[in-house]
């Protein structure tokens, strides 16, 4: 294993009875990198997260997080990771600050200041509010804050923006980016392709317990999309559409001509979306 890897997963598998949920998958994440884990419900994302965070042990294979074996040195590993769950599993009868303070005490953090963390997620004015009085978006931001109480070196986020309003989603994406910039390795599960595209340095497509592909969004788009642009232009009342293949020998000239055309309306690249690529690779959508 490279010493620089924050997470190194080798050939892990897990099954529920006869159902093989995760089938021999391997990947790694570098410090400061955001890895998007994409797949439909039941693909094996959550089981993989459970194994990564020490909730269940893989039936085979190995997981090393920050140099710690996730099974043998579970407590040491867990003291350096932060987890944000899909379920809003907060203590509803406790205030936002009390929720954070409780989790800080599990990490034995001296002089913990919940206000600073709440300020980061724009909830400082809700510090004394019972969690049951917070909106869904606020709860999710509090969940995000909770995952950061120990200033983790690895951040595991399960559907962090699922069903949120644009303001809350934006706030969470900003924090994820800040954490990666600080040097934390981030694993993010989502079935929102757009979010994965915007946030992830690399994405892994998981389907039926296996990783179908793992690469940067750009490389995937290049590999699976068309290298062409679609040009729309107006000539009087007529609207014409022209596809320019970027691999063709005349591509540069054709594109120059299209751009110079006085009736030019729009130019669109024909690159594939992550969703198109996922469907191409797995034969199914994300829902």
């Amino acid at each position: 294993m490279s010493d620089t890897r924050a997470i190194d997963v080798r050939g892990i598998s897990y099954s529920y009875g006869n159902l093989l949920a995760v089938d021999d998958i391997s990947f790694s994440v570098e410090p400061g990198e955001i890895l998007g884990f994409l797949g439909p419900n039941g693909a094996g994302k959550s089981t993989t997260i459970k194994m990564l965070t020490g909730q269940v042990d893989p039936k085979s294979g190995s997981i090393t997080v920050l140099g710690y074996d996730a099974i043998k040195s579970r407590a040491e590993m867990q003291s350096r990771i932060g987890v944000c769950f899909e379920e809003k599993n907060l203590y509803l009868n406790m205030t936002a600050a009390e929720n954070l303070r409780f989790f800080a005490s599990l990490f034995n953090i001296a002089d913990f200041d919940p206000e600073a963390l709440l300020r980061r997620v724009d909830l400082v004015d809700k510090s004394g509010t019972h969690t049951k009085g917070l909106s869904k978006g606020m709860r999710q931001r509090l969940m995000m804050a909770r995952s950061l109480v120990n200033r983790p070196d690895v951040l595991v986020l399960d559907e962090p923006t699922d069903g949120l309003d644009p303001v809350s989603s934006r706030a969470i994406r900003r924090i994820i980016r800040e954490e990666a910039d600080r040097g934390a390795a981030v694993i993010l599960t989502t079935h929102d392709m757009e979010e994965a595209d915007k946030l992830s340095d690399r994405v892994a497509f998981i389907n039926e317990g296996k990783i179908a592909t793992l690469d940067t969004p750009e490389n995937l788009k290049l590999a699976y999309g068309k290298r062409s642009v679609k040009v729309r232009s107006r000539d009087g009342d007529q609207i014409s559409e022209q596809t320019v293949a970027l691999d063709g020998p005349e591509a540069g000239e054709e594109l120059k001509e299209a751009v110079a055309s006085p009736g030019l309306m729009t130019i669109h690249t024909e690159e594939a979306t992550l969703e198109n690529i996922f469907i191409q690779l797995t034969g199914r959508g994300l829902e």
């Binding site: 965070t53 020490g54 987890v83 769950f85 203590y91 406790m94 409780f102 989790f103 990490f107 120990n150």
Partner: protein, 368 residues
């Protein structure tokens, strides 16, 4: 962040969090406070002594000395009245409630003495209220017959068999246990059971909302979580049952022994609380499991109120040792040696309840 987090610090943090959550649960706080107040009020409302004698009103003539003699034997208080109307009034058959209501009335005809002395049949009226049990009515009829035989100078038509009285346990003739004291174990049991349900609800909520998962991805281990719940349950149950026992004079006899018994009892119900909390999928489900457990568990405590009502199987129930020890200590003044077997049984059940509760909870937590 400190990587070497002590187990003690983690358990203390979880217990502190649970206490805060419990104190903010309005439903359980309300039933806890109301329950305690109601139980203490009920205890002090119940009679603290036992009325062991029967008050009998007599309307007769010429037999004053006979009844004075019978009264000296004890157990029956005779009140002589002037007329049948006075007798009925004293028994509460009239329009107004008498100051000292009599239990039973006997009206002897004016010629009773001469009639029975002549060996003839006399008729005596026995007046009883509907609440007087049949055995008391029969006893009164027998007494009248015995008086008649005595006055007539005849022997009773049966030979009195030689008898030996064997008292099983402590002979309480003349010192019956007041209903107040009989209720004490039942009240303590109710407080413990209330806490079983509260702990069950707390554990179930932690599982259903999956907050336990959030705890278990920190340095906290499953064993820390289980230990915290066990400590919390025992602490809550013990503090409340101790407070109740202080308020109902439960520590008058051998307080250290009673405290030990209550501590074991608190641990027992905590084991069951963990079991209930791990079993229930939702509130209704949890109530179902609570009732399924609580009904058999309450039988020994009710057995104190209604001696003989429960069969020998009662000794197999987990709460028998608890109730038996509490009764022994608070009513019979039993010592360590006297209740050793009950406490041993109770301790064994504590281990079983904890083993079951913790195993089920562990399995539940690990499969979330």
């Amino acid at each position: 962040m400190n990587p070497s987090v002590s187990r003690f610090a983690i358990i203390r943090a979880i217990v502190g969090k649970d206490l805060r959550e419990f104190s903010r649960d309005k439903f359980f706080m309300l039933i806890t406070v109301l329950g305690l107040v109601a139980y203490v009020a009920l205890y002090w409302f119940l009679p603290s002594d036992v009325e062991e004698s029967i008050s009998v009103g007599i309307h007769q003539s010429g037999m004053d000395s006979l009844f004075a003699e019978l009264e000296e034997d004890g157990g029956i208080e005779f009140t002589l009245v002037e007329s049948r109307v006075d007798l009925e009034t004293a028994l509460g058959f009239g329009d107004s409630e008498p100051d000292n209501k009599l239990d039973i009335g006997l009206e002897f005809p004016p010629d009773f003495l001469s009639t029975v002395s002549a060996g003839e049949v006399a008729s005596v009226s026995v007046l009883v209220g509907p609440e007087v049990p049949q055995e008391i009515r029969s006893a009164m009829s027998s007494m009248v017959r015995e008086i008649a035989y005595a006055l007539a100078g005849d022997e009773l038509p049966v030979t009195r068999l030689p008898e030996e009285e064997i008292i099983l346990g402590q002979d309480r003739a003349g010192s019956q246990v007041p209903i107040q004291d009989k209720f004490r174990p039942l009240l303590a049991f109710f407080v413990l059971i209330m806490e079983t349900m509260a702990l069950g609800a707390l554990v179930a909520a932690e599982i259903q909302s999956r907050t336990v998962t959030a705890i278990l991805v920190t340095p906290a281990k499953v064993s820390d979580f289980l230990a915290a719940k066990a400590i919390l349950g025992t602490l809550l149950a013990f503090s409340q049952v101790t407070l109740l026992m202080v308020l109902v004079r439960g520590f008058d006899n051998n307080a250290p022994l009673m405290i030990t018994t209550l501590l074991l009892g608190s641990a027992l119900v905590t084991g069951f609380g963990l079991l209930i909390g791990s079993s229930g999928k939702d509130f209704l489900n949890q109530i179902f499991y609570s009732m399924a457990l609580l009904i058999p568990l309450s039988i020994p405590a009710f057995g104190v109120l209604f001696p003989g009502a429960a069969g020998p199987f009662v000794q197999l129930l987990p709460t028998f040792g608890l109730v038996d020890a509490m009764v022994g200590i608070s009513i019979d003044g039993a010592g360590w040696r006297d209740v050793a077997s009950s406490l041993g049984m109770l301790a064994a059940w504590v281990l079983i309840a904890f083993a079951l509760g913790l195993t089920l909870l562990k399995r539940k937590v690990q499969t979330l």
